[in-house]
């Protein structure tokens, strides 16, 4: 049955349901083509956008893209929808929402007011009508601030996750990369290690390593070892110094099940982290990573396009008041995002949707060696995200992650963005960098000689 249609000249384009309409209206992505749900032609894509522009926003409250009965993410989204917050925009079509978002009058406060009234599907729908500049402009208006031991997301600030991974979880290798990052002014978003091993003892050892460095130098930041949520819960039970709970999340119950999680488990993990009361400025204790294509790769997308699935993952994330959420935009490979153009578009869509839904969005601007992308593409996307007010990016030594085997952004990249866009670190971290003689006014590296305490540090205890 045809539910939606649009006629362009002699040609009438029909779309069976809201799910199909959303998929056909999406910007071109190899993942949607792989799933067989993308528009068949450029004209069909625009026809779908015309039809979507005329669609009342309230349609998304009447028709779930993934059935309410079978999916707890849908239930979370619809049961948590705030009718009062929706009131200002309830009469809009999707096209009118775009115009409203772009208008001068719609400022940070106005966007904050409607956030709980917007569902992920509404955010995804309007993003499909937006050019890259629209995605940047609206995201730039919205600052989402979150706190643990420092303040992330303030306007004019860009934080960096220090990612000192090592292919064997070697403590000395990780400590070396961590010192390198700190001496380049990175680490305010989090010092976050992706462990190779899922052994809880290994994870605890890494947590203790980073915590020791943090305490010794009184660094106003937080640490995280990005193991599975169940491992982190066990680490908490065993008394480990857990600041943040990490988990990859996706936009459907079945995709989350493939990650070995559900909403109840995430709630349990958050409660465990909160019970430690380790945050000094705030209690945002969750760290989530996402990425377009994860639902399809788990065969759990229900015919929904990958960008809408991604926005639904933000619906999951916002329920748990996270400190950090980042899309790992190019990690999944060319079968989902083929080239630099698709990666760039996805990064901007994800950042926009996350911010619109009220999330402290960051981005892992990255690619794999079999994608049609290179560092120039990463330069472009990180610059666009810097302009858009992205909360944080990754800092990997030389942009080369030797454990995860992909290229991300580097400490040097952050220094470039600080120069060209005047973006400074989180205020507490900036003061620390100044005090340590690492950076001046949050922008310029200072000369560091071999007597600097971070250089001479015997880190961790017993290491050369």
């Amino acid at each position: 049955m045809t539910r939606f249609s649009y006629t362009l000249g002699q040609r009438r384009y029909a779309f069976d349901d809201l799910t199909a309409l959303m998929a056909r209206a999406s910007s071109p992505k190899s993942g949607d083509q792989l799933a067989g749900i993308a528009a068949g032609s450029d004209e069909e894509r625009v026809a779908a956008r015309y039809a979507l522009a005329d669609l009342p926003l309230s349609s998304f409250l009447d028709e779930a893209l993934i059935p309410y009965e079978v999916d707890e993410v849908t239930r979370l989204i619809l049961d948590g929808h705030d009718r009062n917050a929706f009131a200002d925009i309830a009469a809009f079509t999707v096209g009118e929402l775009r115009d409203w978002l772009l208008s001068y009058e719609t400022d940070d406060a106005a966007l904050a007011r409607v956030a709980a009234g917007l569902t992920p599907e509404m955010a995804a729908a309007v993003s499909k009508l937006m050019r890259n500049q629209d995605l940047i402009l609206v995201a730039k208006k919205r600052s989402v601030v979150a706190r643990f031991r420092n303040t992330l997301g303030l306007p004019g600030r860009l934080a960096i996750r220090l990612q000192p991974n090592h292919p064997a979880d070697d403590a000395r290798g990780i400590a070396a990369a961590m010192l390198d990052g700190l001496l380049y002014g990175a680490g305010d978003a989090v010092i976050g290690i992706n462990p190779v091993s899922d052994s809880v003892s290994k994870i605890i050892a890494l947590l203790e390593l980073v915590d020791e460095v943090r305490r010794r130098f009184d660094i106003p930041t937080q640490s995280c070892v990005l193991g599975h949520v169940t491992s982190t819960i066990e680490a908490i039970e065993r008394g480990a110094p857990v600041d943040l709970v990490f988990q990859s999340v996706a936009g459907s119950e079945a995709a989350n099940r493939s990650f070995g999680i559900d909403l109840a488990l995430l709630g349990e993990a958050r409660a465990a982290a909160l019970s430690l009361e380790r945050g000094t400025l705030g209690d945002n204790v969750m760290y989530f990573e996402t990425g377009q294509g994860s639902a399809l790769s788990a065969n759990a997308h229900h015919g929904v396009d990958q960008q809408t699935c991604e926005a639904r993952a933000y619906g999951v994330a916002r329920h748990f008041a996270p400190l950090l959420v980042n899309t790992v935009v190019g990690f999944i490979g060319p079968e989902y995002l083929y080239d630099g153009k698709q990666i760039t578009r996805a990064g901007l869509e994800d950042h926009f949707c996350g911010k619109l839904l009220g999330l402290p969005m960051g981005c892992d601007v990255c690619y794999t060696n079999h994608a049609e992308a290179d560092q120039d593409d990463m330069d472009n996307l990180m610059t666009l995200l810097g302009v858009a007010g992205c909360n944080y990016l990754m800092g990997v030594p030389g942009a080369d992650d030797i454990m995860l085997n992909y290229q991300s952004t580097s400490f040097h990249d952050a220094l470039y963005l600080r120069q060209v866009l005047g973006l400074r670190p989180a205020p507490e971290f900036e003061s620390w960098l100044e005090k340590m003689g690492v950076m001046q006014e949050g922008r310029r590296l200072l000369h560091i000689d071999e007597r600097h305490p971070l250089v001479t540090a015997q880190l961790p205890a017993g290491l050369p």
Binding site: D180, H370, P397, G398, I402, S410, I448
Partner: protein, 262 residues
């Protein structure tokens, strides 16, 4: 002022001995100096070249023929590299001609095969060129000594791991081991992986396979080590009639199962 003075060196270069991460690169202003910038470009260029390098299937067949092994050549349903990269589903299925070829081979064979070894380009033809024939020669000889009835070696182009399932099913092989180029990293453009699947059928999941990864001379497994692990896993798979998470690799605890080639 010389160029040397413009670049700020980092006084923590000694930390490099603890990690192969690109630390203490120094800076020009706040940016990456020319030398490490070019080093990263070179590593990426090599990795990309490995992904796009044409697979020399005929040369691999000739190598195997020279040591007395029969071969069969097949192609996945992905006609070229671009489609292969976009459509992993096509790389998991044979094209029509290849299916017919294997069906006719199976009809001619007097008995079902205990195993079939497949050499595939995967994401690094370079890895297949460098390592696959060496590992196959060692493993095939060791299996022959143990009285295994092994099918001709299949050389597969534009192939994903799961293509082995269809190959093994059509050849009525009890096991399939596919030796396939791994996704190139910046430090290893020619790393080979082996995936072993008991009772191969189209639709098997990755949890039903055993993997031997990182076969490459520098910092990885040697051909001999890889062949030893493979023969160990194949022997255990035959004894226990399974592969996957329940089959653990204890090959480090047993004596060498393959002969060093002459």
């Amino acid at each position: 002022m010389t160029g040397k003075d413009i670049v700020t060196a980092n006084p923590w270069q000694t930390l490099r001995r603890f990690t192969s991460a690109r630390i203490a690169l120094g800076c020009a202003g706040g940016s990456l100096p020319t030398a490490p910038m070019l080093e990263l470009q070179l590593a990426h260029a090599r990795a990309r070249d490995a992904v796009h390098l044409p697979f020399e299937a005929a040369a691999i067949q000739a190598q195997l023929t020279a040591i007395g092994l029969e071969t069969l050549r097949v192609h996945s349903a992905a006609p070229n590299r671009e489609i292969y990269l976009r459509r992993p589903d096509l790389g998991r299925r044979l094209d029509g001609a290849s299916r017919s070829l294997l069906e006719s081979c199976a009809d001619l064979a007097a008995q079902a095969h205990d195993a079939v070894l497949v050499i595939a380009d995967g994401l690094s033809a370079l890895a297949a060129h460098h390592h696959a024939a060496g590992v196959v020669a060692l493993a095939q000889a060791a299996l022959g000594e143990r009285g295994w009835h092994v099918a001709p070696v299949v050389v597969a182009e534009q192939s994903r791991v799961a293509l082995g399932d269809e190959i093994g099913e059509l050849l009525r092989a009890a096991q399939v081991a596919i030796l396939i180029g791994e996704r190139p990293g910046l430090s290893s453009a020619d790393s080979l992986g082996v995936y072993l699947t008991h009772a191969p059928r189209v639709g098997r999941s990755d949890a039903e396979r055993n993997c031997i990864s990182n076969i490459r001379p520098d910092g990885g497994l040697s051909h001999l080590q890889a062949a030893h692990k493979l023969v160990y896993l194949m022997t255990e798979a035959r004894r226990r009639q399974l592969t996957g998470v329940a089959l653990k690799d204890a090959s480090d605890d047993v004596a060498l199962l393959v002969q060093r080639s002459g």
